[in-house]
Amino acid sequence: MKFSKFVIPFIAVGIFLIIPLILSSPFILQLFVLIFLYALVCESWDLSMGYLGLFNFGHLAFLGIGAYFSGILSLYYGLPSWIAIVVGSLITFALGFVLSLSTLRAGEYAFSIISFAFQNMFLYWVRSGGGPAPGEWGKKGLTLTGGTQGLGALIPVPSLQLGPITISSEFKVPAYYFTLIILVIATYAMYKLTNSRFGIATIALRDSKEYAIALGVNPLTYTAVFISISTFFAGLAGGLYAHIMGVVSPEIIGWSNVIIMCCIVEFGGLGTLFGPAAASFLLVSLTQYLAGLAAYKNIVIALIMLFTLLVWPTGMAGAAFWFKSKYLEKIKKAIFNWKHS
């Protein structure tokens, strides 16, 4: 019985494993890499938004911190890419912890405002360039974050080297499989986390904080643990993004992207983990398809979000559960009857 929960994820992973063998178009593969990274970000956002019930406005800032810090460390300081990614993720972990401490004094609503401010501060710091780049690079007129052009616009961020394999946007297939593997591992880790005793504590805190405390849950500790882990995965996605794409522009953490990501999480279904992953597949493809509309594509995204919130608040995952509870048993029965008739 326990296996049946994993049937759909297994089939999905199986399909994704054979996609590069069928479709060799570099554009499609590049799109899939982007989808996998966005799925990782949205799943990690779901940890804090869905499981903890805290709206972390600054979640994409952590994607940016992961991307910029690991990019800067490997571009200007010559750190090997994979070490830079790990260090960048750990920095986001620590900053997420510090940000989550604000819930102690200020409470949940203020946390949203504080994270909103945090996102804006980071965005403006990135756009301003953050001062000259260290050493030789600074003398050539480069700024630390590359300003509005982005980090790696002139000299690309070094790509990820794993032994003989180079993972960058030049080599689509290794990048595809690498991000897929990372996504599967991270999803499994997050799934295990949300079903563990820590997940129980955070769901309890989300549903009734007062009651959870009355049963001995320390609200600050488990909020901090969960937010730190959620920002860690965002930082990991950011680090991978920087080294695979070779360039990080401030647009990935801009408000337009925040809205798209938020829409993905809502549309997928809060607190379901697999929902946002599936939704990122649909909506990232859609935004790429609508790229011709430029800024107007945000209107489409906003309409999807409104529709989700007003008509079907449980999102795609909720729709799937509804379908399962309503029709799946009937279908199973029909198949059973057909087999035995």
């Binding site: 005793r197 504590a201 769901i203 009734s208 001995g216 849950v217």
Partner: protein, 262 residues
């Protein structure tokens, strides 16, 4: 009998309003203690300040097992061994029955993150949670979500989660309000069972007097934040001041007849 809980001149103010006015009482170990009084008397406020959830007392001392606890955090008080239920039933909508009890079982017994990481033993806590569910008779519903639970089930679930934290003192806030007579009888048996089998001292707030007077070894009447009287139920029922402010003239007869029945 040793004193388990002692309140020394505990007061709680909300601005000018005095919710508790220098309430003092001591509670021996191993009894069931009833608290009654009109609405707004400060009964639930007393529970709130004993558990510091959601607020501590404005002044005074709460001494549990010989240690002052009024400055502790609410979850630390749970780890000391005091746990409460709520007047208005609360639930974790996203959790099943067994997982709701697991919250109490795991987090009531593991005091901090370090213990949670290193001292966690899934089988032990799950067994503990199942035992608690079995005691209240909900073990057949363990995998259902609490969203659809009835009022009676919710009250039982709150008690199960509470006893899964292995408390020394259990505070029940109106455990039988809104229940049918049959359910009240079942709850009555359950509370006595918890009291005897698990050896837990219990404080009960309740408006249904025939339940409270018969289940408690001692009763305290509160009015406007002050203790009116305290003693054995038979004595309290005869106390003229308690009759005047809360019990009413008929209480003696109702109480007597109910006692005869039991």
């Amino acid at each position: 009998m040793e004193t388990l809980l002692e309140c020394k001149e505990v007061s709680k103010y909300f601005g000018d309003f005095v919710a508790l006015d220098k309430v003092s009482f001591s509670l021996p170990e191993g009894i069931t203690f009833g608290i009654a009084g009109p609405n707004g008397a400060g009964k639930t406020t007393l529970f709130n300040v004993i558990t510091c959830n959601p607020y501590p007392p404005s002044s005074g001392k709460v001494i549990f097992n010989g240690k002052e606890i009024q400055k502790l955090k609410p979850y630390e008080i749970v780890h000391k061994g005091i746990v409460r239920t709520f007047q208005i039933p609360v639930r974790f909508r996203g959790l099943t029955f067994i997982k709701s009890v697991m919250v109490g079982s795991v987090y009531g017994n593991l005091a901090n993150l370090k213990q949670n990481i290193f001292n966690y033993n899934r089988d032990k806590f799950e067994k503990n949670a199942l035992e608690a569910l079995e005691l209240v008779g909900l073990v057949n519903k363990k995998d259902e979500f609490t969203v659809h639970a009835s009022l009676y089930d919710l009250k039982l679930l709150m008690i199960a989660s509470a006893i899964a934290t292995k408390p020394k003192l259990l505070l029940l806030d109106e455990p039988v309000s809104g229940l049918t007579d049959h359910e009240i009888k079942l709850m009555w048996d359950l509370i006595l069972k918890i009291h005897k089998e698990l050896d837990i001292t219990i404080i009960i707030i309740e408006h249904i007097l025939k339940f409270l007077m018969n289940v408690s070894d001692e009763v305290m009447i509160l009015n406007s934040g002050q203790v009116i009287c305290k003693g054995r139920p038979e004595e309290v029922a005869k106390n003229p001041e308690a009759i005047k402010c809360y019990l009413g003239e008929e209480s003696k007869e109702i109480f007597k007849s109910e006692m005869d029945k039991v």
